[in-house]
Amino acid sequence: MSLEIHDISKAFGGFRALDGVRLTIETGSLFGIIGPNGAGKSTLFSVVSGFARADEGQIRLDGQSLDSLSPPARARAGMVRTFQVPREFRHLTVRENLMAAAPKQTGESLLGLFFRPGRVREEEGAIAERVNQTIRFLKLSAVADQPSGKLSGGQKKLLELGRALMVEPRLILLDEPFAGVNPVLIGEIMERITELNTRGIGFAIIEHDLEALTRLVPQLAVMDRGKVLAQGAPQAVLDDPLVREAYLGGVS
């Protein structure tokens, strides 16, 4: 079971942000992606989540082709992304943020709302219960009914993780989950990730904090200038001469 990224290319004007990226990420695993700024890491997430269209290449999740699916359909297929600069529905409360992301709601249409009110109420109960669990799991209870725009940077990262969890994903794409987060909260987020992983949820994580990342993931890939330079166990990858050249500027 895996996310297969097959020869994906994406250009913005004359700039090839992704240049034939080939990567296989096991859906139940923890997988790191590192690389210098502009290497194409976030663009890769955008293309994989359907946010941006690839110029070439195919993407499959557990054998199912995602190429023709819209972003919401990809999310509902079990793969969600978060953002480098955390995003939230800032005027909605933390609770509403999570509830909005729950899939398969009968009350998503006016017809469902008016003609199946009993079912809508039942589902709302179940969703509210899942949201409560998620809020407790992420330790966001204290701010559950506050507008999410008022959260701290770290809390917003947790909220993003929560919103991703609401769609019951198999794979979550985390874009720099530790950036701008205080060290205590970094530990907290790492713990949550590890625990979710033991429940079978996979993570692909873009991160600049190499130290934190290598503690977390057994496998990582290095990207540079739109290409994957190397892939494997952290130490082996970091010792790769190509990687040292590109990423660490050849410093030994």
Binding site: G50, S70, F89, M99, A100, A101, G107, L110, L113
Partner: protein, 287 residues
Amino acid sequence: MFYAQLLVNGLVQGLVIGLAALSITLVFGIARFPNAATGDFMTFGAYAALSAHKATGSIAMGGLAAIIATGVISLLAYLAVFRRLAERSVVALLVASIGIAFFIRAVLGVAFGHSQQVFQVPLSRPYVFGSVRITPLDLQLAAVALAALALVFAILYLTPIGRQMRAVADNRDLARVSGIRPDRVMIALWLLAGSVAGVAGMMLGIKTIVTPEFGWEMLLPAFTAAILGGIGSPVGAVVAGLLLGVVQEVSTPFVGFTYKIALAFIIMLAVLLVRPRGLFGRLEGAR
């Protein structure tokens, strides 16, 4: 006490403006463009109500017809035109909505003629409170408007689709990657925006006379209220609508009937110059 009477008249008028402004602000907040067809959605609602009222003699049936027919015509406008232009500029959508406005007006002109029509509602004795007279009809209309408002706000703030509508208004891209399907949200939006405009049109039709142009003439006050209330803010639109209705009525003795429309224009300019995010506004919602 003369002014108390004007205040009451203004509140009823204000509910009409508020409903129209709510329709505009919902569309602006979620679909992100000023819908110039809102006035003609109102006209459509008025004719739908008029026809149903003539056929059945029931104001309630008229209201139901206005809600359903205008909701449907609004949804059709979305499916046929606005959806296809969704990725285009605001200007393209605005111009398209002006086109739809003219189209609806022309069709109504052909179907119903250009002569003035009125709802044949029985005259009834007004309730008198001191020197203020309120007709039962005004009370009924106010009740209908308040019920419509209550329903819209309940949908927006208490239901799954309302939550998703607010999520899309807040951050459309995030909504999409979170698995929220914008198509569903848009369908609900256009049905709601149309129905609300339809109710406003029926109310205005009962209060005044129905012609194919009468909704278009309400567009300026409705936009003013939407801007005054803070574009994208449903509560703001309604409050500003009431405020504008009252100000227009109370100012009539000073500026004269002819110029009360101009007042809306002056208020709109003043708000845009002095406080562009309006009373309840959040400008970032209106990119």
